[in-house]
């Protein structure tokens, strides 16, 4: 993010500023309009189970893409080439298909509001609370990261003070997230995705034209940088060794992200039918297929057209913005950055709110809240999570690379949580006690691997393997739940029900 300092506010034209203010005002008003739809906690947390597949699909990708994807993606493409796209292809598409066919039907039919709630039904309430604590703590930290990243861009691009930038972003996102709940989040995400794609497409067109046309661009790339056109890099590569990409990213990190991420899954739980939930993820996968073209291309533009080698690869996108884009287009890209960040903040806030309200406080409190009180509590928790995110935001400055920081945080718990979900769905024999101990020991094992300095891709893989082994080992000596308790929670019961209907 430091490299965004390459933007300077003196470069900003009135067209760019006009675009930014029009976007901020428009998205606030549009999101706030959804307030009238919220009457119950189900409306607030799950959009009243009314969302169509195409809105959810757009919202999923809007939530998934952040400014780190733009800056880090272009920088990665500049540095390593096509291998960067693994995060969008092999590191996403198979997992999204598995999420659509295997996970979403279970979550949707179980009638849960969150993934920890599913874990609570499948295993036990302690598993639910521990998972919710981890995921909501991560959500608050991530909100802080996103707010800081947005503020940094506003500061460097417009010259606004960091604190003011954080408060403006938090105010805009907070207003529509608190008032309109998941519906506001999902529909604004969809608008934000259109802006992001529009910005990226315009950049791609301008860049290809500057390179002398599509044919010239491809020929030059092939002749001058043939090593940048490989998706897989040698197993000795520092950043993306192919075994790590296949085993860590393809088999563990990616399914763990796409199948267990509360911010991603929550909009699927708000689908109007189970088919809409499944189709939404497939639609998102289609959009995801094209994301590398939009975020990797700027890295290639800088590679071909920058007169001298850029010292820091993450300067690739700022270089393109500064040197290739005319006024108006650079403003559109900047608005796309802000939209990408805001969609991630709003989704994360909403998911943190549901987990704290229902999976932590709802379980700890002996007396269940009535619906109106739960709705009030959900809104208060959203405000509290936003406030905590604002307080956490400056911590981000302590870390050098935001993208790596986020991935490292994820790799600490994704392996064990994914193991619990996958094995819990596939095997009826896995027991509640095995779930609890595998989660705790798997987290401890991941922490040990992290302290030992293992690459995060391998860390996720081995903590997953460890948790699976513990699940089966402990289940062999403990008692499973009965068939009636597992109804609609395991693979065989759900598939059988669909066939019987």
């Amino acid at each position: 993010m430091d490299n965004l300092l390459s933007f300077t506010h003196t470069d900003v034209s009135w067209i760019d500023l006009g675009l930014l203010f029009a976007y901020l005002a428009g998205i606030t008003v549009y999101g706030y309009l959804f307030k009238s739809r919220v009457h119950t906690s189900r409306d607030y947390f799950l959009a009243g189970k009314s969302l169509p597949w195409w809105i959810i699909g757009m919202s999923i990708i809007g939530t998934n893409i952040g400014s780190n994807d733009y800056v880090g993606g272009a920088g990665g493409a500049y540095r390593t080439g096509m291998a960067q796209a693994n995060f969008e292809w092999i590191g996403a598409i198979p997992a999204m298909i598995i999420a659509a066919f295997i996970f979403i039907p279970f979550y949707w039919r179980a009638g849960v509001f969150s993934i920890p709630e599913y874990l609570g039904k499948r295993y036990s309430e302690p598993v639910r609370v521990i998972a919710a604590l981890i995921l909501s703590l991560f959500s608050v930290l991530i909100v802080g990261v996103f707010l800081w990243a947005t503020a940094l861009m506003l500061q460097t691009y417009l010259g606004w003070p960091i604190l003011l930038s954080i408060l403006i972003t938090a105010g805009v996102v907070g207003l529509y997230t608190v008032s309109g709940g998941l519906a506001a989040v999902a529909y604004t995400d969809a608008v934000q995705l259109v802006i992001m794609f529009a910005g990226a497409v315009v950049v791609a067109i301008v860049g290809v034209n500057a390179a002398g046309g599509a044919v010239n661009f491809a020929t030059q790339l092939q002749e001058r940088f043939p090593d940048h056109l490989h998706t897989f890099l040698p197993s000795t590569h520092d950043e993306f060794p192919w075994p790590g990409v296949l085993l860590g990213l393809g088999l563990v990190l990616s399914p763990a992200y796409w199948c267990t991420n509360q911010a991603i899954m929550q909009r699927c739980l708000g689908a109007r039918t189970e088919w809409d939930g499944k189709a939404s993820m497939m639609f998102a996968a289609m959009a995801k297929t094209f994301v590398p073209l939009l975020i990797v291309l700027p890295g290639f533009f800088a590679l071909l057209m920058a007169p001298e080698h850029l010292g820091v690869s993450d300067q690739a996108l700022p270089w393109v913005v500064k040197n290739l884009l005319p006024p108006g287009v650079s403003g559109l890209l900047f608005v796309a950055f802000i939209a990408a960040l805001q969609s991630s903040v709003s989704s994360t806030l909403n998911s943190a709110s549901v987990m704290v309200t229902r999976d932590i406080l709802g379980v700890i409190r002996s007396k269940r809240l009535d619906d109106a009180a739960e709705l009030r509590m959900g809104r208060m928790i959203t405000i509290a999570a936003l406030a905590a995110g604002i307080l956490c935001a400056p911590l981000t400055a302590q870390f050098r690379g935001i993208y790596v920081y986020v991935q490292q945080l994820l790799s600490f718990f994704q392996g064990p949580v994914f193991a619990l979900l996958l094995m819990g769905i596939l095997f009826k024999r896995i027991t509640p006690r095995a779930g609890l101990w595998s989660l705790l020991l798997g987290l401890g094992f991941a922490a040990l691997l992290g302290l030992a300095g293992l690459n995060m891709l391998y860390m996720a893989f081995w903590s997953f393997v460890m948790s699976v082994a513990l699940l089966f080992g402990i289940s062999a000596f403990t008692r499973p739940k009965s068939a009636s308790e597992l109804e609609n929670l395991t693979y065989t019961s759900v598939v059988k029900e669909a066939v019987d209907v």
Binding site: W89, F232, V245, V501
Partner: protein, 67 residues
């Protein structure tokens, strides 16, 4: 990672990727049709999500075969 993995040629990665896609495709087509359509308002061919998955995975196979 073990030394034997480092000794494998780079094309092993491509084979691994394509096997992964094929495995996911096989899983998708092994699912009952009723399960795939469950909740759909009608049984239009375009609502068969297995076809969507096939298109997606075919594109992935193409990408990883070329690059």
């Amino acid at each position: 990672m073990s030394d034997w993995i480092h000794a494998l040629p780079l094309w092993t990665a491509k084979v691994g990727a394509i096997l992964l896609f094929a495995g996911v495709l096989a899983m998708v087509w092994s699912l009952p049709k009723d399960f795939v359509y469950f909740g759909a308002p009608d049984r239009g061919r375009w609502r068969d999500l297995r076809v969507w998955a096939t298109v997606l995975l075919a594109v992935q196979c193409g990408i990883y075969y070329v690059f």
